[in-house]
């Protein structure tokens, strides 16, 4: 957002010029985003080997582009994706995988540890990459990354460089609140509190590599890149 609005054109008297500039910037970022996804797909698909099983959580167009490119390059792999409550991201991912002919298994969110021994890697997208090298992503990512790390499975994150953010969360509550209504499908007594947040923060020690349009990075390299971006 700041990319689109941070322009000196907004200081102009003429509203039309300002409007046109905003639209132009918006289209530009759409273009940049598309090109970034292509680069990330090329970098990321190298890490997908024949016969591997990939666990994914959440629905990310970047992850999707990596998997599509790998499938187009005739690699034989299969995907396990979590149901992704409450967003039902699993359903979206499953539809996409069927469309490109990749074997897909759907699991409930609690089955991540159960399936982790039979997968080769965890591949997720990110809503934001923070200064520590950690990521903010759909709730459940932290869990999956923790399980993956404890079972020595690599955790790969695919994120465009414009998702790098100058924040350094020290705990889960340090992010901007983002909530999503959860439907438990039965009436709850009114005294019951429900945890609504839809995003969690995964610290960098659980991540192996980040695929970005600026290259492949270890989590420790992220802050360097951030400094260059914000110079």
């Amino acid at each position: 957002m700041c990319y689109v609005t941070r322009t000196s054109a907004l200081e102009y008297e003429d509203i039309e010029v300002g409007k046109a500039r905003l639209i132009e910037r918006g289209e530009q970022i759409g273009d940049i985003s598309l090109k970034a996804r292509k680069t990330i797909a090329m970098l990321g698909q190298d890490f997908i080997r024949d016969g591997s099983t990939i666990l994914t959580h959440g629905f990310s167009r970047v992850v999707l582009s990596i998997l599509k490119l790998a499938a187009a390059n005739k690699k034989h792999f299969s995907v396990v994706c979590t149901e992704g409550r409450p967003d039902s991201t699993g359903l979206q991912m499953a539809k996409e995988m069927v469309a490109i002919g990749v074997p897909i298994t759907l699991i409930i969110d609690s089955a991540v540890a159960y399936t982790m021994e039979s997968v080769d890697m965890l591949l997720v997208g990110a809503d934001g990459v923070v200064e520590s090298g950690g990521i903010i992503n759909m709730i459940g990512t932290y869990q999956a990354a923790m399980v993956a790390r404890s079972m020595n499975k690599p955790v790969y994150v695919a994120a465009e460089s414009y998702k790098f953010a100058r924040m350094y969360p020290l705990d889960q509550k340090a992010m901007f609140p983002s909530s999503r209504q959860v439907d438990f499908h039965y009436p709850l007594p009114s005294a019951v509190q429900v945890e609504f947040s839809s995003r969690d923060y995964t610290p960098p020690q659980y991540l192996t590599l980040l695929f970005t349009d600026l290259g492949v990075f270890t989590p420790s390299a992220v802050s360097d890149e951030l400094i260059q971006l914000y110079l």
Partner: protein
């Protein structure tokens, strides 16, 4: 592009043959010979006057790709090729900075890349990533507040750079070209010196890391380690456990060399490493190569030693010259970078013949002899390079300093 001289071609084919036949083995020798060969390539390269540096880059890339293909396991060859390419790019930029039109010339070379991108549909991701850094990296807040739109800046400067190139070309044709070649060769000479001195530079840091009465453990043989311990011996007394390193048993050689230095040395079998680890203060090894994520390619058996060290909370120190640093990530680390050596090191020929089913001529007994192990970065405590001691998480910085992302793929 100028044709290579026949004696240069001969030198290249000769080196290729030696690499393929494993007559040149080991990172140090491969790196040194590669530098010498590339220096010859640069010296004998008669560049065209337009886009001087890119013709050098193409020449080095062509030779480099052949060298890497000849012996993929010798990562040092690829490392040196990429170092030379980085030197060429750096020298081009610094010469451009010293003359006029600083920013425009650099934009020019990036736009050359971008225009190439439009022509070639399939381009390596690394090149695109590098191009992205310069043109698509819009969020640099410094640029955001410019009234001119960012891509337009790139386009405008490319046309003006074209004009300035013409002007500078006609006026200082020869001197600029000669300056570039000269500075590239200077850079390569520095690189050669660094490679030759790397053992000494690493050994200089020995006293900081080895303390009085320490017990050091290692496996196999390493030239760097020998010099490191020799340097430490001058002021400290310590003892060394050497694991023999089957099937080559190079540990025997190291043990004898250390004993000749009057160091208290104990030789153990590889299987005894775990048993002895509780008595050890530090494990120090030499590496074959270091990958961009901080992972280490080392002689077989060292991953087990690293695990034993981690289990006993013993620091695991890796000695590696900068020429061993590889800008590539291990996609398939346990399989990709490995070489199976001859089985004669494990089984006598007559023995292995016994187990071949005569009827089908298929061996019942298979013996595998991989040369290298991959050690993940989590198991390494410290890298000691000729540029100082570093954490595995710092390796990406060294890669960014010594290599350009455009050179990751040598095609």
């Amino acid at each position: 592009m100028a044709r290579a001289m026949p004696e240069l071609q001969l030198a290249i084919s000769d080196f290729l043959l030696k690499l393929q036949r494993r007559q040149i083995e080991g990172s140090f020798d491969s790196a040194k010979h590669t530098v010498l060969l590339l220096r010859q390539v640069i010296v004998q390269h008669r560049a065209s006057h337009s886009g001087q540096a890119s013709s050098f880059i193409d020449a080095v890339k062509t030779v480099g790709a052949r060298l890497v293909a000849a012996s993929p396991i010798e990562l040092a060859v690829g490392n040196v090729v990429r170092r030379v390419l980085h030197i060429i790019r750096e020298e081009e930029v610094s010469i451009a900075n010293n003359t006029e039109d600083e920013g425009e010339t650099t934009f020019d070379s990036d736009d050359n890349n971008n225009s190439d991108d439009d022509g070639l549909p399939v381009l390596s991701a690394a090149v695109l990533a590098a191009a992205n850094r310069n043109v698509l990296r819009a969020p640099s807040l410094h640029n955001l507040l410019e009234s001119a739109v960012i891509p337009a800046v790139a386009i405008v400067s490319s046309s003006s750079a074209g004009d300035s190139e013409e002007r500078s070309r006609s006026s200082e044709k020869n001197s600029k070209g000669w300056k570039l070649k000269h500075s590239i060769i200077e850079g390569i000479n520095e690189l050669l010196e660094d490679i030759n001195n790397n053992h000494a530079q690493i050994a200089e840091q020995a006293l900081e890391h080895i303390h009085q009465n320490e017990v050091i453990l290692t496996l196999g043989h390493s030239r760097t380690l020998l010099q490191f311990l020799r340097e430490a011996k001058k002021k400290r007394s310590f003892e060394v456990f050497v694991a023999e390193g089957a099937p080559r048993y190079l540990g025997h050689t190291l043990a004898k060399e250390l004993a000749a230095l009057n160091l208290q040395t104990t030789l153990i079998t590889d299987s005894a490493v775990f048993a002895m680890m509780s008595r050890v203060d530090m494990v120090i090894i030499g590496a074959h190569a270091v990958m961009a994520n901080g992972g280490v390619i080392a002689p077989t058996g060292l991953h087990m030693v690293a695990l034993a060290a981690r289990r006993h909370a013993v620091p695991f120190v890796v000695l590696a010259g900068m020429y061993k640093l590889c800008p590539l990530y291990p996609h398939n680390p346990y399989v990709l970078v490995n070489e199976m050596k001859s089985l004669s090191q494990i089984l006598e020929h007559e023995e292995s013949m016994e187990y071949i089913d005569a009827a089908l001529n298929v061996p019942d007994l298979l013996a595998m002899n991989p040369s290298f192990d991959y050690i993940p970065p989590e198991l390494v405590s410290l890298f000691i390079t000729d540029m100082g001691g570093h954490n595995p998480s710092y390796i990406y910085r060294l890669v960014a300093e010594y290599y350009s992302p455009e050179d990751h793929s040598l095609e």
